[in-house]
């Protein structure tokens, strides 16, 4: 099975199995990754699954949707490679993906 790694803001790594077709918010929530809440259930309406994609992987995760873009701009601080986990669907191509968890999502 494909894998993704979530990296805490203190550098701790969590490598988890990532079923193809699930979105990254679901994968995080199903693996109890602290800091990813997914409150709105995946509708790009809460930004509680905000992640920073490792720059090496960013292009492969696709483009931000309009709703996603507007939710991201209301976060106090975001990186250039910020995404909402719920808007990234896991694919074969993303096997090995590395996502960093922002500091505010304690």
């Amino acid at each position: 099975m494909a894998k993704v790694t979530f990296v805490d803001h203190d550098g701790t790594k969590h490598e988890v199995e990532a079923p193809i077709g699930n979105n990254l918010m679901e994968i995080a929530v199903n693996n109890n990754i602290a800091g990813i809440d997914g409150d709105c259930g995946g509708m790009a309406a809460c930004a509680t699954c905000h992640v920073t994609v490792d720059p090496a992987w960013y292009a492969k995760t696709g483009a931000r949707s309009e709703a996603e873009e507007s939710m991201l701009t209301f976060l106090p601080e975001i990186a250039e490679t910020a995404r909402l986990g719920c808007q990234i669907e896991m694919t074969e191509e993303l096997d090995g993906l590395v996502l960093h968890l922002p500091v505010e999502q304690f």
């Binding site: 929530v29 809440d37 409150d39 709105c40 259930g41 509708m43 790009a44 309406a45 809460c46 930004a47 509680t48 709703a67 507007s70 939710m71 701009t73 209301f74 976060l75 106090p76 601080e77 922002p102 500091v103 505010e104």
Partner: protein, 413 residues
């Protein structure tokens, strides 16, 4: 009143029920109304209520769907804003809460830094100092009003810190916040929006003075200074910056205050949960969002349909008033297991609609959680048990779930 007692709510057809009746929010009977709406007609058009016709959105997921489409469901004051009761146009104070994009985005971004991780981190110690100051002042084994002594004190002092407002005048913030949220049908002397504005004259004067003062000073890290020095907001009309400050004052005051009070009430009504908390203080983290779900400090928000739209099989017409009942979404069994039980160790406790969703989602949600968390951390550290000695006195309102008084006794370990 007698008629109401003879005919129970469950006997009435939905078309005869006005879900906005304020007294039911005081007794808790509103939950019965919303249970029926979710079950029988989750998207329902009430033809006749005290506010005229409106749609009720009562299911968790439908609320999110409405919030996720701000272009269709507008918050703009020009169409009715976020208020269930129509407001006279000349009394409206506009803010980003009652604006749609792009205006909304520009204004909201100005105050965003106040809740940045860096600022939240800096606030943590200040909030802890405030909480300790308030708790140190409480008598043991003596009946107190928890609202007055704790909820008002903690939130008022934190708000002073956020605004750099004189702390000795903190009760003014509470008073003004309460006036803003007064239901004009509650039977107080504030019987309409014009009276409300009159009563708020001292606030408007004070905020204008502070705005001018901060404009003349170098920028500092408080909300008023941020507004006074930001390119986007520095040149705002007085009515606009007062609107912004009112939003930040009410948002940062009433809601958290009522969550502090409602949380204590919940712990006393579910003593097993309170015991669990005392034995496992680390459960504060999951208890805090559960308190916010349980209390649902803001019961609803209004939107206005900007076009005809079919929504969940119903035909919503352009111009229709749409009410999202957060108090109902937070009791939706399809999403929240056993929703009428207060459980401090839920698996996904942040799954609630109390903060709303989408672009208008509560700006201060982490600040609110922080205040509640630190308060309970410090109470537990002291080994105190806070016993309520009566029922909370609930406010006449279908908007702010307000607790005006809650008697309690602090028992030391």
């Amino acid at each position: 009143m007698t008629a109401l007692k003879q005919t129970t709510l469950s006997d009435l057809p939905l078309s005869d029920i006005d879900p906005s009746v304020q007294t039911r929010f005081q007794t808790g009977e509103h939950f019965e109304v919303f249970d029926r709406l979710r079950e029988e007609a989750p998207v329902y058009f009430h033809e006749s209520t005290q506010y005229g016709p409106f749609w009720s959105i009562s299911k968790y997921k439908d609320i999110i769907e409405v919030e996720a489409q701000p272009k269709i469901f507008s918050s703009d004051a020009a169409y009715g804003g976020i208020w269930i009761k129509e407001q006279p146009k000349d009394t409206i104070r506009k803010s980003f809460m009652t604006a749609d994009p792009p205006e909304h985005d520009v204004q909201r971004k100005v105050v965003n830094p106040i809740v940045s991780p860096t600022n939240l981190h800096d606030m943590e110690k200040r909030v802890r100092d405030i909480v300790n100051l308030v708790l140190d002042d409480l008598p043991i084994n003596e009946e107190i009003d928890w609202v007055e002594r704790v909820s008002v004190e903690v939130t008022g002092r934190v708000l002073c810190a956020l605004m750099d407002f004189p702390v000795e005048e903190r009760l003014d913030l509470t008073t003004w916040s309460d006036i803003v949220n007064t239901d004009v049908d509650a039977g107080t002397e504030i019987t309409d929006e014009y009276k409300k504005l009159e009563a708020l004259a001292p606030m408007i004067k004070k905020f204008k003075e502070m705005f001018a003062e901060r404009s003349a000073m170098p920028p500092q890290n408080d909300l008023i200074s941020m507004l006074a020095h930001s390119q986007e907001t520095a040149s705002m009309e007085p009515q606009q910056f007062v609107g912004m400050l009112v939003l930040l004052m009410v948002g940062g005051n009433d809601t958290t205050r009522n969550s502090i009070s409602g949380g204590l009430d919940a712990l006393n009504k579910f003593p097993e949960e309170y015991k669990k908390l005392r034995e496992n203080p680390e459960l504060v983290d999951s208890m805090v969002p559960e308190i916010i779900r349980w209390v649902t400090p803001v019961a609803h928000m209004r939107r206005t349909a900007m076009q005809d739209i079919e929504f969940k099989g119903q035909q919503i017409k352009k111009g229709d008033k749409v009410i999202m009942w957060y108090c109902s979404g937070n009791r939706d069994e399809d999403v929240i297991e056993d929703p009428y039980t207060f459980k401090i160790d839920r698996k996904n406790p942040r799954q609630h609609v109390s903060f709303g969703f989408g672009i208008h989602r509560c700006l201060g949600n982490r600040m609110a959680e922080m205040q509640l968390r630190i308060l309970w951390e410090e109470i537990l550290k002291r080994g105190w048990v806070i016993e309520t000695t009566g029922e909370p006195e609930r406010r006449f309102s279908n908007f702010v779930v307000g607790i005006d008084s809650l008697k309690a006794i602090v028992r030391a370990a």
